[in-house]
Symmetry: C2
Subunit: 124 residues, 2 copies
DNA sequence: TATAGTGTAATAGTAAAATATAACACTAGG
DNA sequence: CCTAGTGTTATATTTTACTATTACACTATA
C-alpha cells in the first residue's frame, strides 16, 4: 500500500479499514487479519497498526478479543452511520476548499460534472 | 489561523498563500507581508514560513527580491493554471475517495447536490 | 500441559517537522 | 555612513510519528 507522506500512516490505515468495512470486504462479525499479518501486508510496524486499531476500537467499529483477534462490529447501524459520515466529510471538504477559492455552488456542480465526463472520455 | 495537526504546517501555509493569490487578495506584482510579519500573523516560526515560501518560489508563484520582499508573479497565466490545478486536485480527491467507498458517479453528483441544498436550508 | 496464534504494551532509537535564536546579506532612506 | 526593513541561512532543541525489539496475557488445540 502506498502512503501519502503528508498524513500520518496510522491515520491512513484507519481509513483503509473503514473502507474495507464499508464496502463489505470486511463484513459485520468478520475477523480482521492478525495485527502482525496486517503489519506485514502494509509493510509497517505492529505498533503503527495497533495505533490505528486502537482508535477503531474506541469508536466501537471493531471489537478486540484477547487471544482471538479483532472483529468487525455486528451493529450494522454503526457501519451505516460511518459510511454517511465519511461521505459527508468528503463533500464538506470539497465544498469548503472550493469556496475558499471563490468558486460558487453552481460552479462546483458544473466542475464536478465536467470532471466526471472527462474521466469517461479518457476511459473509452 | 487554525492548523490541521494531521498535515505539516508549512504545507498548509503554502496552500493558504495559493488561495490568497487565486482570490486576488494578493494580486499579480503585489508584495507579500514580510516573512517575520507572516510568522507573527500565523503564530509560527520564521523558518516554517520560509519553508512554505521556498516551495512557492521554486514553483515561480512568487519571486523573492533580497532586501525588498517577496512578490506575486506578474504572469497571470501561471496563476490561472494554478487555480485550475487546485480545483482539479480537489475534484480528483473527492472522486477517488468516494469511489473507494463504492459510490457511483451518479451518486456522487446526487450527494453533492443534496449537500449543497441542505446547506442552503440551514443558512435561511 | 505444551505450543502456536492472537492481542497488548513497554523500551529504546531514528527521522521529520517545528521551534528559538542568532547571524549574515541586501535595499532604501535619512 | 548608518539604520531600519527585508530575505536567507545555520545551529541546537523539542515533539511526534514511526520503527525495532522484546515481553506479557489470553485462547484454542494437539
Amino acid at each position: 500500500m502506498k502512503f501519502d507522506d503528508k498524513i500520518p500512516i496510522y491515520y491512513q490505515i484507519k481509513n483503509y479499514i473503514y473502507r474495507q468495512i464499508i464496502i463489505g470486504e470486511l463484513a459485520p462479525g468478520d475477523k480482521l487479519p492478525a495485527v502482525r499479518q496486517l503489519a506485514v501486508d502494509l509493510t509497517v510496524n505492529v505498533n503503527t497498526v495497533q495505533r490505528a486499531l486502537g482508535e477503531l476500537i474506541s469508536e466501537k467499529i471493531i471489537e478486540p478479543q484477547r487471544g482471538k483477534g479483532n472483529f468487525v462490529t455486528e451493529d450494522k447501524q454503526t457501519i451505516e452511520k460511518l459510511k454517511k459520515l465519511l461521505i459527508t466529510d468528503q463533500l464538506k471538504e470539497l465544498y469548503e476548499n472550493l469556496h475558499k477559492l471563490n468558486v460558487t455552488d453552481q460552479e462546483i456542480l458544473n466542475y464536478l460534472q465536467d470532471y466526471i465526463n472527462e474521466r469517461k472520455q479518457v476511459q473509452s
